[in-house]
């Protein structure tokens, strides 16, 4: 029982990290209808920049803040200089550009930092928990707390603030939002700032969680998050979060219990195929 609970808690942590990465993708799809594959590149940059700042300053807080700032800039640059000029073309054009960015960033990281796996030896300032045989490590506690804080903040921004209202309006119809005086393009940029800053946090968390930072760390998240936003319902942020948490737990339990010779990363795609066949709008998507 204790083992099962521990597996479940680990799975929830994995799912939380998936959620942090997928959020940006869901936000961007919601407002721009672009599959932002390069979001995984932003996440990779987040991990590298976080590690760099951590090694330079020794402060995890500075590393996180610095990385969030750099990723926000990278995200806005991708939006302004790549996606925006390509919006007039069919959606596969920005998608191809997005894949190109992902590959370029991987190669850039390899060139600058080397192909080897770097370690991220940081201790997250969160406590361990021991409850009747179940151990929750400080890293997992950190993942929970940070994910909860990010989700809460995002919920607050989108439902309670003027900015959030403008974001929701612009994501439904940018032309109408413009006619109502909302600077939709600015709102799109703000969306990229938010999504990319969250990706930076996710990159650093993953770096510390697995104690690994490497050039292709974004490859699996790149396609897994795509599957997740489809499962959750394209454009639905709550759907993306629910799908991420479920997948994290399903993967962990599958590896822990079922002796199926199935690579864990295939599960996301089996779920995606299932959802497309039985509920094509996704778990929480609307038609």
């Amino acid at each position: 029982m204790a083992l099962f609970l521990e597996q479940l808690l680990n799975g929830l942590a994995t799912g939380s990290i998936y959620a942090l990465v997928t959020l940006g993708l869901a936000l961007v799809y919601g407002i721009m209808r672009i599959l932002h594959v390069a979001h995984a590149a932003v996440y990779t940059i987040g991990a590298y920049v976080g590690l760099l700042f951590f090694n330079l300053t020794g402060s995890l807080l500075l590393a996180v803040l610095g990385s969030m700032a750099v990723c926000a800039l990278v995200g806005v640059a991708i939006e302004r200089f790549v996606y925006f000029p390509l919006l007039k073309y069919p959606p596969f054009v920005p998608l191809i550009a997005s894949i190109a960015i992902l590959l370029s960033v991987e190669e850039l990281c390899r060139l600058i930092a080397g192909p080897q796996i770097l370690t991220f030896n940081a201790k997250l300032p969160f406590p361990d928990f021991h409850l009747s045989g179940v151990t929750v490590t400080s890293t997992i506690t950190a993942v929970y707390c940070i994910t909860a804080a990010v989700l809460l903040l995002l919920w607050f921004i989108t439902t309670k603030t003027e900015l959030g209202l403008a974001m929701r309006a612009a994501s439904q119809d940018m032309a109408v939002a413009d006619a109502m005086g909302i600077n939709s393009h600015l709102i799109v940029s703000v969306t990229f700032v938010i999504g990319s800053a969250i990706a930076a946090v996710a990159g650093i968390l993953v770096g510390i969680y697995f104690n690994q930072v490497y050039p292709t760390m974004g490859a699996i998240p790149a396609y897994k998050t795509l599957a997740l936003i489809v499962v959750g319902g394209l454009g639905s942020v709550p759907g993306a979060v629910v799908a991420s948490l479920l997948l994290g737990m399903a993967e962990t339990l599958l590896i822990g219990y079922a002796n199926i010779p199935l690579p864990r990363d295939a599960l996301a795609f089996i779920a995606m195929i299932g959802v497309l066949m039985w509920r094509s709008q996704g778990l929480l998507g609307s038609r």
Partner: protein, 255 residues
């Protein structure tokens, strides 16, 4: 203050070889209800889109209160106090009726960096939005999702939303189309009361009878050019209009 509110001079918009609007000039005077008439494809909605900044003109000028507005972004033009509706209603379907108006009411803030922490539910904003809804007769439905409303209510919602933006000029694109007779009468009364509050109204209308009864002046467009301009009685008498728009003389009286 005798200068017209909006001055349009030699306005043209060409899409490839199509001259959708071709050298049109007219003024909108302060406090009037001006009607823009014309058959389908005459260039009425293109004119609207030029005034509200959706399109940039191929040639010509638009001045609002003495300031050139052609070439400005749509949200900047909205920020000047020009609000509009859409011929095919475009509510923010996943927002509530109240949120639709609040989104437009945020106009004062959107011009600057968004005030992230200012809650839009604060009382003043909410009160103003609710009073706009009351004005168009939708306050009972404030918490409904806009996407679920029938057409008549959506037309009212669009007017409320445009009013949230329009401090000076309200652009109405066929606000009567698809409505029942009683609804038309109610919205006519609403438009008159809006004008009585000091707003200037430019409306596109297909229904001749409504336009003749409601507007102080009419501009008739045909094939992107201005065919006639004047008081409803003058326009009704114009030979060119009768031929181009109303058909032959006999049917003009019927309309």
């Amino acid at each position: 203050m005798n200068r017209p509110l909006l001055e349009i001079t030699g306005l043209s918009k060409h899409f490839g070889g199509l001259r959708a609007v071709d050298g049109v000039s007219f003024d909108i005077r302060r406090g009037e209800i001006l009607g823009l008439l014309g058959p389908n494809g005459a260039g009425k909605t293109v004119c609207f889109n030029l005034i509200s900044g959706v399109y940039k003109p191929t040639a010509g000028q638009i001045s609002f209160d003495g300031q050139r507005t052609d070439g400005l972004a749509p949200h900047v033009i909205a920020g000047l106090g020009i609000g509009r509706t859409f011929q095919i209603v475009k509510p923010f379907a996943h927002l509530t009726v109240l949120e639709n108006v609040l989104a437009a009411r945020g106009i004062a803030h959107y011009r600057h960096l968004p005030k992230i922490w200012s809650s839009w539910k604060t009382s003043a904003e909410r009160r103003e939005a609710l009073s706009l809804l009351e004005r168009v007769g939708l306050s009972e439905l404030a918490d409904r999702l806009a996407g679920l409303l029938p057409l008549g209510n959506l037309r009212r919602l669009e007017i409320a939303r445009a009013l949230a933006v329009a401090r000076t000029l309200l652009l109405l694109d066929e606000s009567f189309s698809g409505l029942r007779h009683e609804e038309i009468t109610q919205i006519e009364a609403l438009i008159r009361s809006i004008r009585a509050d000091g707003l200037t109204v430019l409306l596109i209308e297909h229904n001749m009878r409504v336009a003749m009864g409601l507007c102080d002046r009419l501009i008739v467009l045909d094939h992107g050019r201005k065919l006639a301009e004047g008081r409803p009685a003058e326009v009704r008498a114009s030979e060119a209009v009768i031929e181009a728009y109303l058909g032959r003389k006999g049917s003009a009286h019927a309309a």
